[in-house]
Symmetry: C2
Subunit: 208 residues, 2 copies
C-alpha cells in the first residue's frame, strides 16, 4: 500500500524513527515538534517532515507530532502489528544469540525451531526450550508449519544451497547472517547482516 515511490533510504530510516519514538513514549512525551525530533535524531527537520509526508504526514502544523500515534503508525508501516513465525537455520553461537535476541525483543517475531547439520548440537536445547532439528528434516517441517522468516546463520555454501527448500516451503523472508549474497525469487525478500563487512568498515574508518 505504501510502497510506491518509497526509496530504500527512507525505508532504512523508518526503524530509527520508530526507535526514537519508542524512547519518547517511554519517557511519557505526548507531542514532539519536527524541530525537537530533528535535534534528538541528528537529522534535519525538513528531512523528517519530508519522510513522514510520504506516509500521509501525521503532523499538524504548529502542534507537532502525536508520539504514540506516530509510533504506532510507523510500526504498522514496518509490519510490526503482525506476528511472524521464524526458524533459525544453524544452531551455533551466533544463531542461538540471534534467536534469543529476537525472542527478547518480543515484537511479534516468534522463533519456532532451530535446524542444524551437526547432530551433536541436537542433544542440547537452548534455554527457552525451542527444539533443534536435523537440517534434513527442514523440508518436511516446512510442509507442516507455516513459517514466514528463515534466519540463516550457517556457512556461505550451505546457505546458498538451502534457498530452494525455503522457497518450496513458503518462506517469505530471509534474515541472512551468512557471509554471502543470496539469490532468491522475486516474491521472496532477503535482508542481510554482513558482520565482517561492518567490521571492515570500522577498520577503514579508524585508518582514515
Amino acid at each position: 500500500m505504501y510502497n510506491k515511490g518509497i526509496s530504500k533510504a527512507v525505508i532504512n530510516r523508518l526503524p530509527r524513527y520508530h526507535r526514537y519514538l519508542g524512547i519518547l513514549l517511554d519517557q511519557g512525551v505526548i507531542r514532539i515538534s519536527s524541530a525537537e525530533l530533528s535535534r534528538q535524531m541528528n537529522v534535519t527537520a525538513s528531512q523528517i517532515r519530508q519522510d513522514l509526508n510520504l506516509f500521509g504526514g501525521f503532523g499538524q502544523q504548529g502542534y507537532g507530532y502525536n508520539v504514540a500515534y506516530l509510533y504506532e503508525e510507523i510500526g504498522k508501516i514496518l509490519g510490526l502489528d503482525k506476528t511472524y513465525r521464524l526458524i533459525m537455520i544453524g544452531a551455533g553461537r551466533l544463531a542461538r544469540a540471534i534467536g534469543s535476541y529476537v525472542g527478547f525483543q518480543k515484537r511479534g517475531f516468534q522463533v519456532e525451531a532451530f535446524f542444524d547439520r551437526d547432530p551433536e548440537k541436537h542433544l542440547h536445547r537452548p534455554d527457552n526450550d525451542i527444539m533443534i532439528y536435523p537440517l534434513e528434516e527442514m523440508e518436511t517441517y516446512l510442509k507442516n508449519h507455516q513459517i514466514d522468516i528463515a534466519v540463516i546463520a550457517i556457512p556461505a555454501d550451505a546457505a546458498r544451497k538451502i534457498i530452494p527448500i525455503l522457497d518450496k516451503g513458503g518462506v517469505k523472508g530471509i534474515w541472512n547472517f551468512a557471509r554471502t549474497d543470496l539469490d532468491v525469487p522475486d516474491y521472496m525478500t532477503v535482508q542481510s547482516v554482513h558482520l565482517s563487512e561492518s567490521l571492515m568498515q570500522l577498520s577503514y574508518k579508524i585508518n582514515h
Copy 2:
C-alpha cells in the same frame, strides 16, 4: 591517505569487493575483467571501474584485474593489513557469539578481554579462555593495555555511559550492537549493527 572525496557508499562497497575477490582467489582465479566481476557481483561494470579508479585503478585496459593484487590492495585500504586489539563490553550471548565470530575470522582482530557488569558471568570463561572482568575494572584495564576497538553489546543506557571511559582509555573505534546511537568525539569512530532495525526492514519488505 585515501579518504579525500571517497563517499560513504564506496566505502560500504569495498568490503563486498574484498569478499568476492577472496572467493575468486580461493577458486584459483588469477585475472578477472570488470565485466565478469560485474556479472558475479550484480553491479554495473562501470560502477566497478569507477569505484576502483578512486584508489588508483588497479586494472590494465584489456587485461582485467589481477585478483590477488586487487584483493591485497583493497585489504590495505580497509586496514586489514594491521592488527587490532579488541575488548568486548558485555559477556552475554550476543557478545560471546560476536567475540568468537571475530576470533574465527582471523583477520587481525584480536579479542583481549570481556567486561560485564553481572558478577555471575565472571565465574564462567568463554571457550577460548579469554577473561571476563567486572565492568568497573575496565578503566584501569585500559590504562594498562592499548586497545583499538571496543565492541559494545550491553543495553542502550549503559552503552552511552561508558563512552567517556573508552575515550579516556584511548579506544579509537567502537563496534556498536546496543540499540542506541552513540555520540563520540571526532577522533573516535562508531560503526553500528542495529539488529532490530534490520529485522524491521525485513518485515517492511515482506509486507510491501
